[in-house]
Amino acid sequence: MDPLGRLRSAGRRVTDPMEALAQQVAERVVGLVATALDVNALVARVDMNQLLSRVDLNALLARIDLNALLARVDMDEVLRHVDVDAIVDRIDVNEVAERLDMDELVEHTDLGAIIARSSGGMATEALDAARSQAVGLDQFIDRWTGRLLRRRHPGPAGPPGLAGNPAGS
């Protein structure tokens, strides 16, 4: 028989009720403190920027499955709230059009076929070719004249306010 068995049994009889009492006291105290505490005032005193600066957002985002997150989003519902007209109003369509590579567009889309079928025939083709050859000659002569006269800067492209703008034909 364990000589200390009786002593341990007597100790448990004392500590078990004490432990239960301590648990009850702690719960009661936490409840009282939580009731008395103004959490909003406490949060207001926290420097959130400093707190956020200590958070590694990249590591946090790396742990998020964005696909799963997006799968739960009803995009139709989101788009229903978007004012598309307001967005389009803010877009400079002319600026967008200027950035288009028209050559690529004409060569690789049906737009080229439409232009080819709708714009003139042999006469237009011959006129375009003659004019472009003449312009090539003009630029060749210009280049050599500039070299002979040792011009450092080219002259104005056209009359003031007209160069680069449609002149009508």
Partner: protein, 186 residues
């Protein structure tokens, strides 16, 4: 299709000063056309007179001065009327160039007439008046400077290029020699 760059091909030649070759070719075409019209007209008048009077007319014998004066008047009318009415002759229309005021505004009718009147001055002194088209920065000849005019491209090189590319795409040929356009610097 690519985006994000501002290609020079968006630039058209419209409004740029026309060069010497375009202007010379246009003039040569005009001389050919006006001379052909004059010759046909003279032949027509001769035929009518011959038919009515039964007398054949020879325009060269003893009437050289008269025919020269009539021809000069016809040339003045041909060029003067064309420039005054629309700023371009037939040859200029073919080459896609036109006459405007020096500041780029459409030429007034009286400037067109004045330009035709002083045009012969550019032929004096072995055509020195035309030298301005080559060496002057605005490609203006003597008659341009006197009449306050300039000659510009009036055709849209960009549209011509797109037509060329469209034709090449339609026939399946690679676009090797698309119409030229002005690049950034001239």
């Amino acid at each position: 299709m690519t985006a994000g760059r501002r290609p020079a091909r968006l630039v058209t030649l419209q409004g740029d000063y026309a060069g010497a070759a375009s202007r010379f070719l246009a003039y040569a075409l005009d001389v050919a056309v006006s001379t052909a019209i004059y010759t046909l007209a003279v032949a027509g008048v001769s035929f009518v007179i011959d038919t009515v009077t039964r007398h054949a007319i020879t325009w060269t014998t003893g009437s050289g001065i008269i025919t020269s004066v009539v021809f000069a008047a016809w040339e003045f009318f041909y060029f003067g009327y064309s420039w005054a009415a629309s700023g371009k002759t037939f040859g200029m229309a073919v080459l896609g160039i036109r006459v405007v005021r020096a500041d780029g505004a459409p030429a007034d009718a009286w400037r067109g007439v004045l330009r035709a009147l002083v045009f012969p001055l550019s032929f004096l002194l072995f055509g020195l008046g035309f030298l301005g088209i080559l060496v002057q920065r605005e490609h203006r000849a003597l008659h341009d400077l006197i009449a306050g005019t300039a000659v510009i491209y009036a055709w849209d090189a960009r549209a011509a290029r797109l037509r060329f590319l469209a034709r090449a795409a339609e026939t399946g040929q690679p676009p090797t020699t698309a119409p030229r356009q002005r690049s950034g610097a001239r």
